[in-house]
């Protein structure tokens, strides 16, 4: 087994470890207990495994764990601070954008990076749709998710 030593932060906490080069970042995060990171399609189609790497959204299933060396990773677990939901998470609750919940952590991270990137801009529904094109949801029909992103953008 080939391993590489990596240093990274996950949700602001520092870690150092030897990582099997065959692992995806999704494998690594789930093994460490960050189970908000879901395995959906495994090929970058569904976005259920979306995390932020240095504030950039990526499909962690198509991202080698060793690439996380010297990077800052954010997962849905870390968005909730001192027991308080983030504005994006709050908006998902308010708008009823969560049904079965499997896609939710990935979508929360997609919305979070989308809004951080477009801070201060007035966003159309079309722009919100394009910004969430990498995430699939089979329950909601997406309208409540778009509402949540727009609501969170105003917070």
């Amino acid at each position: 087994m080939q391993t590489i030593n990596i240093k990274l932060t996950i949700n602001n906490k520092k870690y150092e470890m030897d990582v099997d080069i065959r692992k995806s970042l999704m494998d690594l995060l789930r093994e460490m207990g960050f189970t908000s990171v879901k395995q959906g399609c495994g090929v970058g189609e569904c976005g259920a495994c979306t995390v932020l790497v240095d504030d950039v959204s990526v499909d962690s299933c198509l991202y080698l764990a060793v690439w996380a060396n010297n990077k800052a990773i954010r997962t849905a677990e870390g968005e909730c601070k001192d027991g308080r939901l983030s504005p994006v998470q709050e908006a998902y609750v308010e708008e009823g954008a969560v049904q079965c919940g499997f896609c939710t952590p990935g979508l929360i991270m997609a919305t979070t990076s989308f809004l951080e990137k477009n801070k201060g801009k007035k966003l159309s529904r079309e722009e919100v749709k394009k910004g969430h094109a990498g995430n699939l949801c089979r329950c909601t029909g997406y309208q409540t998710i778009i509402n949540a992103a727009i609501t969170a953008g105003k917070k």
Partner: protein, 291 residues
């Protein structure tokens, strides 16, 4: 876990080339949005990887005093699309890259990979062809430059040798100054889809006449292609409906679409004719003209 048997994290371009040369089974991994999908499917052809992600110099995007634009092969689609220089000078490339996958894929996928994996459907392929990108490649015999024209030799095939590494794309000012462009991707879905047909145009007007039209297609032949016949049909013409029709007729001589599960040959040809007219019209309008 991915079935990776051997993994080398390259510390320099030379180191990458040596690692490639040392093992004929080795393959380059850049953004990983194709290679890791193959590995996920258990494709052992990709079991021996040379990882170039540490080569930060290959991420650079810059312009020199003469207006030559350099785009590093490791720059991601998002980095290219959001770069000021690219937005200013190569808006049609921005349009093309925006049609690839979704945000997460564009955040990791590289244009180097999109061109070098030889995909017939490469969305950046049309932009590369009409801007006549030069590719600066490092190989066992040193550095050399190749044109994008002739770079693709078949589905999934290019002129690259096994130990070659694309370092950057070079776009010369004469390939973008005075041109306007347009790219349209026809796919079944509005995002996260492979092109049924992709079509890009670059155009320069001379008064009311079309001075130069450069037209390219993806998925219209075994490689991304330029369309010399259609381009000739547009030369020195006033962009009228008749001219657009002549371009559509001529383009049939340039393309070789095939039937696949995505679309029949006949339907593809219909899209090709329609898009040839539509991108030309759009490019004329983007230059302030009317069709």
């Amino acid at each position: 876990m991915f079935p990776i048997e051997k993994y080398h994290y390259a510390s320099s371009v030379d180191d990458a080339i040596q690692a490639l040369a040392a093992d004929e089974k080795s393959k380059i991994i850049a953004g990983g949005t194709d290679v890791l999908v193959r590995l996920h499917e258990g494709d052992t052809e990709y079991g021996c990887l040379v990882d170039i992600n540490g080569l930060n110099k290959l991420k650079e995007i810059r312009i020199d005093d003469d207006g030559n634009i350099y785009i590093g092969s490791l720059a991601t689609c998002t980095e290219i699309m959001e770069h000021e220089i690219i937005r200013k000078h190569l808006p049609m490339l921005v349009e093309s890259l925006a049609t690839i996958g979704g945000p997460q894929v564009r955040n990791t996928a590289t244009m180097g990979g999109n061109i070098c994996n030889g995909a017939v459907s490469a969305d950046s392929g049309c932009a590369a062809l009409v801007h006549e990108f030069d590719l600066v490649i490092e190989g066992r015999e040193g550095e050399r430059m190749e044109s994008i024209n002739g770079f693709h030799t078949g589905p999934g095939r290019t002129i690259l040798n096994h130990s070659d590494l694309l370092k950057y794309f070079l776009v010369r000012p004469e390939q973008y100054e005075g041109f306007s462009g347009s790219y349209i991707k026809y796919a079944m879905r509005g995002a996260m889809d492979i092109a049924t047909i992709g079509c890009g145009a670059m155009l320069r007007m001379d008064g009311q006449y079309i001075d130069t039209l450069k037209l390219a297609f993806a998925v219209a032949a075994p490689t991304p292609i330029r369309c010399p016949n259609a381009e000739k049909a547009a030369e020195k013409q006033i962009p009228t409906d008749e001219t657009l029709e002549a371009i559509a007729d001529a383009v049939e001589e340039d393309v070789k679409p095939r039937t696949s599960w995505r679309a029949t040959k006949e339907f593809r040809l219909h899209i090709i004719r329609t898009l040839a007219k539509r991108v030309t019209k759009q490019a004329v309008e983007n230059q302030g003209g009317a069709c």
